[in-house]
Symmetry: C3
Subunit: 267 residues, 3 copies
């Protein structure tokens, strides 16, 4: 069997990160979590990427963690902590710290780790047949605190409770109604819709997008304080201290001048 | 007339708490608030309860507070404060502090105190003919700060403002759309749906459920600081300081082993 | 061309504030932002206003900021900051600080500044043909931090990201589903629905409404801390320190006595 991995591609201003572990419906291995962190740190340091798409290889987004690895580390407290705080949160935090807009392309199973990864994306587009949940109560363990905080914030407390306390599964329309998904499309329209979304984002002012993400992220700071004793992952780029330093930038001048000239801006 | 009371029943791992004050549509008396606290402190200290259902006797959930008692204490500041901070919040805080999953079974009127009690439940299942609101602006008084914070958090700010500033009433489908209700079912299917939900929860890993509730509760801590000068109710059980101490537990091992063995876990 | 202005009217307990700049679809000029602050400080100090309606003159609510003014001040950091922190936030903060219930009457375009102004209203009623968005990424600049925090809180993070990162536009039913709008009505029913709402609010206990607004506002305090270095606008009225001081008030006694007497209260 082929071990799980991440594929990173870039075409012009668009990056694409694909979770590849198809014989396990793209379940995340520890290696894949570490690769996720590396991939998003790369995006954050890049100067020319304007939008990132996260998708799963084949017909599923991500079915959760790779349970075949669990017996090796989950039953000792130290290694369990290192898994959640190091591998998993390392990947998720790198996504949350990324200033470039992220679009999730969701099909098939989006469970557990899949919901967590999608929760770090800005725009979530789903095929209508996708299925969502986090039925780990069937596996005898709770969601780690920061992961639960992240999911509850994005899917809402009511749905988070149903996922965690009932092990309930949901369809794409439920997640749209809960405010988690931006759009639900026919299964065969998913590729085109995500590509169009990414191109639309890439055509807009890139500095403004980064600043908007920094601002919206700051609203979510309480996540970091969910539980004490967490190691801090150092952020690659610090958020701006001055929200008005962009005043004299070329992008700002171009956008307003183009409007006044009644022409399309070129960012 | 029969004075209001609470009925507590337990069958196996399922507890059931029934608000009984039928000639006033289960309006909460001061005594019932105190009984609510006692009941949930009992649940929290119990070792074998895995799910609690909260319901109203007869065809209503709870129509609010028992206004016939109000003239006796509401017009003096000290006794008004004692009512809200002692009796009412004592009951609600005991529910919020309870680590066992709570299912609300909602039918008929769910008004004022009824919305507050439902707001402390994890999974809310409603009959489609149920009615919701908090029309106390017609009674000339505001919602007490912590109660308003609780309700606004659970029904959302927009609906809370309509309830409090317009004295607006809503149907079950409105509360479903607002993300407050987990499920709305036909009136005659309510009993069966709630029972099935409770059994489903009771079959899942009980330690994981408690830990998930502790985590989700921690996200809501700001509630406690809504207003200064509140007395602190001592919690029966403190939340865990170590979210990974469960690593070597039997429940955790059973869940993962059962998955690997392709059999149903026995928690 | 007629310069933009605000019109203030009062009939009995109802005030009406109209954004008047029709040849620019009621785009906000700097002067209009300052007038907005003055108008709401007046409302707050008034003793007899029980409800305020905010509407746009003609067929639009507000199309955003008046871009024709932007070249004069946006490209220097100091004047850009003064615009956002002084003019814009001065107006919005006065709305947020207002203890009197505010109803937004939304028709036509509700974009950028329009969404921000609507976000400060308690009850939002919209014509079904209204359009919503904040497509400033096309103008090359981000939303200022406190404005973005306000909008994200009211429309939800998912929709805020679509507005800011995709420059997406939405219809009234989308904003209803997102929990932003209280009601969506046929275009020709908007006037009557808003008037009925305002009259209904004005007939309820006015002291209770002010206290409820103070409580709900306190839940949103984190907004103030979104970014450092902001100047503080002094509030006209401080929120009450004692949430139970109303115990012996005439309004409280009247509401409960009327209920016990089975008559309509007169507040």
């Amino acid at each position: 069997m082929v071990p799980g991995t991440l594929r990173f591609e870039q075409v012009g201003p668009l990056a694409r990160i694909t979770l590849c572990h198809t014989h396990r419906f793209n379940a995340m291995t520890r290696l894949m979590w570490r690769e996720l962190r590396v991939a998003f740190e790369h995006v954050q340091l890049s100067q020319d990427i304007r939008c990132v798409v996260v998708a799963g290889e084949g017909s599923h987004f991500c079915s959760g963690g790779d349970i075949s690895e669990y017996a090796a580390f989950r039953f000792q407290e130290a290694s369990l902590r290192e898994f959640h705080e190091g591998d998993v949160w390392g990947g998720l935090q790198a996504m949350l710290d990324c200033d470039v807009p992220i679009v999730a392309q969701i099909a098939g199973n989006c469970m557990g780790a899949g919901v967590e990864i999608a929760s770090c994306c800005d725009i979530r587009v789903s095929a209508q047949s996708a299925r969502f949940g986090a039925p780990i109560a069937k596996l005898g363990f709770p969601m780690a605190p920061r992961e639960a905080a992240l999911v509850a914030r994005e899917v809402g407390a009511v749905m988070a409770r149903q996922m965690l306390l009932e092990a309930a599964l949901f369809g794409a329309h439920d997640l749209k109604a809960a405010g988690f998904l931006s759009r639900v499309v026919d299964d065969d329209a998913l590729d085109a819709e995500v590509q169009a979304t990414a191109l639309r984002i890439a055509a807009l002012a890139p500095q403004a997008a980064r600043m908007n993400k920094q601002t919206l992220r700051e609203l979510n700071q309480p996540l970091a304080g969910v539980s004490s004793g967490f190691s801090h992952h150092k952020k690659v780029v610090k958020s701006t201290l001055n929200p008005y330093a962009y005043a004299n930038s070329a992008e700002h001048r171009e956008g307003i001048q183009a409007f006044l000239d009644k022409r399309k801006p070129a960012f």
